[in-house]
């Protein structure tokens, strides 16, 4: 409770002492509002939560745009796990204070509890981009929730990026199942895993966490054990293959091919294989795979990257550029596409275009650094 009060001060919600009412034209209403708001704040400070909630509601009935009251009522309801009423109050709060990252975060967490996942993701991401000040608990909850929601919305690579950051900060145990789901590309929240699927998902997660911690032996051991235990399960060969690509590419290729036998429409496996062939200079094989992937997922920017890179490798610069430009349209914030385009434009003698892409890369890098600082 004290922490929330500090947060309110930090947000600038309590300009001249808690509960002071603003001047009001109607004297009686103003007195009444002042009494109610002071009473609400006193009750909250004395941890008489139910009384505080009732008084905040009465005060807000007189002055619906009382920001401090909305915030404290929202947080009090949140503390009492009344997520739907808290959500409704916080929606009014953020409408008045769209710059309040903590407000969006708490709203997103309420929506998460109410299984309004799409809104929760939007609002938590907004909170992260606005920043939540010095509130480590809230920041961590928002970060974790976004990481798992990204998997539920099938944005597995983005999710893995965030989960990796959590592993790096020593939270490996907390993210094992989330990492397993993202790695196997199953769009569930950890709370949605059916009873008989925990073992597979944990094995996948343990492998990914070990890999992220740089523990190659343990990573390989976990992932190989997973494949041995579940040889016909979709996604397991892809996961092992992705790891092996970096250490034993030929084995990685074999695993990806096995994945495609089990899941012929596995776009990421096809794509990863195409990327590997580009690395190895086998552009025809890469292009064939990328073309197949394109048929399966014409709107997938990763597929366009693989295709563009394969075309460039084959010397078809014009088509390669066209493909990469399509990828850029789909994912304008992706730095890899921009670097590919810098190289492609330069080799086509389009130096102005190459310079423009470099500028964009600088902007993107700066904005990523700023976002990181806010988080």
């Amino acid at each position: 409770m004290i922490a929330l009060a500090v947060l309110a001060l930090m947000l600038g919600l309590v300009p001249n002492g808690a509960g002071q009412a603003r001047p009001h034209s109607r004297q009686t209403a103003s007195r009444s509002f002042q009494q109610l708001s002071l009473g609400a704040n006193h009750a909250r400070e004395a941890q008489r939560e139910d009384e505080a909630i009732a008084l905040y509601k009465q005060a807000l009935a007189l002055r619906p745009e009382w920001e401090e009251g909305l915030w404290y009522l929202g947080t009090s309801l949140w503390d009492k796990e009344q997520y739907a009423p808290a959500r409704d109050i916080l929606r009014r709060f953020v409408a008045l204070r769209p710059d309040a990252g903590a407000g969006w975060a708490l709203l997103g967490l309420c929506e998460y509890h109410g299984r309004e996942y799409s809104r929760a993701l939007d609002h938590l991401q907004r909170a992260m981009s606005l920043g939540m000040g010095d509130r480590p608990d809230l920041k961590q909850s928002a970060f974790e929730s976004v990481a798992v929601l990204l998997t539920r919305f099938e944005r597995y690579d983005d999710s893995i990026g965030m989960l990796s950051a959590m592993v790096n900060s020593g939270q490996c145990d907390a993210v094992i199942e989330a990492a397993g789901l993202a790695g196997l590309r199953i769009p569930l929240l950890p709370s949605e895993i059916p009873e008989d699927r925990h073992n597979l998902i944990r094995m996948a997660g343990q492998g990914l966490c070990a890999a992220q911690q740089g523990n190659s032996d343990q990573a390989l051991q976990s992932l190989e054990a997973m494949v041995k235990a579940y040889p016909n399960e979709q996604g397991v060969h892809f996961l092992l293959g992705s790891y092996l690509m970096n250490v034993r590419p030929q084995d990685g290729i074999r695993e990806m091919q096995r994945e495609l036998e089990i899941s012929p429409s596995h776009i990421a496996a096809r794509n990863r294989l195409a990327e590997q062939y580009v690395k190895m200079g086998q552009y025809d094989e890469a292009l064939a795979l990328a073309q197949e992937a394109k048929k399966l997922a014409p709107e997938n920017f990763s597929v366009s990257i693989a295709m563009g890179e394969a075309l460039l490798g084959k010397g078809d610069t014009a088509e390669g550029i066209r493909e990469l430009e399509q990828a850029r349209e789909m994912a304008p914030d992706n730095v890899r596409i921009r670097w590919d385009l810098v190289r492609a434009y330069s080799s086509a003698g389009r130096n102005d275009d190459a310079a423009r892409e470099k500028q964009e890369i600088e902007k993107l890098t700066q904005s990523t650094t700023q976002d990181g600082q806010k988080q």
Binding site: E65, D88, R91, R92, A95, L96, G114, R115, E116, S118, R119, R152, F153, E154, I186, P187, L188, L189, S191, E192, I193, P194, E195, R197, Q234, S263, P264, S265, L296, E299
Partner: protein, 384 residues
């Protein structure tokens, strides 16, 4: 004396009225300005003030409702839209917004009614509104057990937007015939819903992508093959492909092993048995289906079709007429009736049913509200 007093009173009231009217005009103007300048909070405040002075200002309620809706303040937005609907004859898109707000405030029955009113007016509104409202309408139809109608609404969304996660989930719930919303089904069934949704969505792509649909459906069966509805769904996918009828029959049979009273699996299986000329099996399945659900049009249709194939024409006509009474807008039932009337020598009736079947069939692949289909029937069957 009294008349002088009255005159003064009238004058005072007129002056007050005129002052109030001027005040309203000014606030309303400021509200519209705030809206145009994207100052949403100011606009909300000003519209509320103006509407307090003049509650009959329809446009004001519309703007206030839209502003509150954009801020996700659905309870307040619903109240504003209700005022608007009460004041105007141009209710079209407002019904959709009202339905959306009521969905969010969990007033599901009213939401469904308002979506139906919106559909009966021809689905008015922007592309974005139609997408959002049709999607939520479909969710509520699923909750109401109208799974086919829900899928009918979701299919164009899949064709236009692909396998977006929310649409996939909605497709999954309807395909597995779960009377749930995305927010309220048991979390441990999420993977099952997702796999079914992916399979159903790929099958509805244009052109259909049956290989990908099959991949997800196989995955569904391999993990959740003991759950009700899974084999029925797999069987329906096989029938979509219009091949593998023996595979489809196997799936419907498996569903009946798991869910012995699954009427739709009986009906589908009966249809396949007719195709394989196993008429006794078909008749037996249809009979069981009717015994379980005497008011199920599809069950009577299956029986009528099986009797037709068995050359029991009068009994067939009787069953199909019963089916027609239960589902007057079904193209398939009309088509079967046309066949049986033809074979009974009732040519005029056969021609009428065939024509009607064709008109209804044409409407099957497009987004047509059920009411419009019924209109076709009513027009065709109007006494001349």
């Amino acid at each position: 004396m009294v008349s002088r007093l009255l005159s003064v009173l009238v004058l005072v009231l007129l002056t007050l009225g005129s002052a109030q009217s001027q005040r309203f005009d000014q606030i309303a103007k400021n509200a519209e300005k705030a809206l145009a300048e994207d100052r949403a909070n100011d606009a909300v405040h000003l519209y509320q003030q103006a509407l307090h002075l003049q509650p009959s200002w329809g446009e004001g309620w519309w703007s206030l409702g839209s502003l509150l809706y954009d801020q996700d303040r659905f309870g307040e937005a619903a109240a504003a839209f209700r005022h608007f609907v009460a004041l105007t004859s141009k209710r079209g898109p407002a019904y959709a917004f009202l339905g959306l707000c009521e969905y969010e405030t969990h007033d599901y029955q009213k939401a469904l009614e308002h979506f139906r009113s919106w559909a009966s007016l021809g689905w008015p509104g922007s592309r974005e509104l139609i997408d959002v409202a049709a999607f939520h309408f479909a969710l509520l139809l699923t909750r109401d057990g109208k799974f086919v109608q829900a899928l009918y609404l979701l299919t164009p969304e899949v064709v236009r937007l692909g396998n977006a996660p929310a649409i996939t989930e909605a497709m999954g719930l309807a395909s597995l015939r779960m009377r749930n919303l995305p927010e309220d089904y048991p979390p441990e069934r999420r993977e099952m819903v997702w796999l079914a949704g992916e399979a159903a969505s790929y099958a509805e792509h244009f052109p259909p992508d049956y290989p990908q649909a099959g991949e997800y459906a196989n995955r569904l069966v391999s993990h959740y093959g003991q759950q009700p509805e899974v084999h029925y769904f797999r069987g329906v996918l096989f029938t979509f492909e219009k091949k593998n009828s023996s595979e489809a029959a196997k799936e419907f049979g498996e569903e009946l092993r798991i869910s012995p009273n699954h009427v739709l699996a009986m009906v589908e299986l009966a249809g396949l048995e007719i195709g394989s000329n196993h008429l006794d099996e078909a008749l037996s399945l249809a009979k069981r289906a009717i015994a379980l659900e005497p008011n199920n049009a599809q069950a009577h249709d299956a029986m009528g079709h099986a009797l037709l194939a068995s050359d029991r024409l009068n009994e067939s006509a009787h069953e199909l007429e019963m089916a027609k009474r239960l589902a007057p807008a079904s193209a398939d039932i009309r088509s079967h009736l046309a066949m049986v009337y033809g074979r009974l020598g009732r040519s005029r009736e056969a021609r009428a049913e065939a024509a009607l079947s064709l008109s209804l069939k044409k409407k099957e692949d497009v987004l047509v509200p059920p009411q419009e289909k019924l209109k076709i029937v009513q027009q065709a069957e109007k006494p001349r």
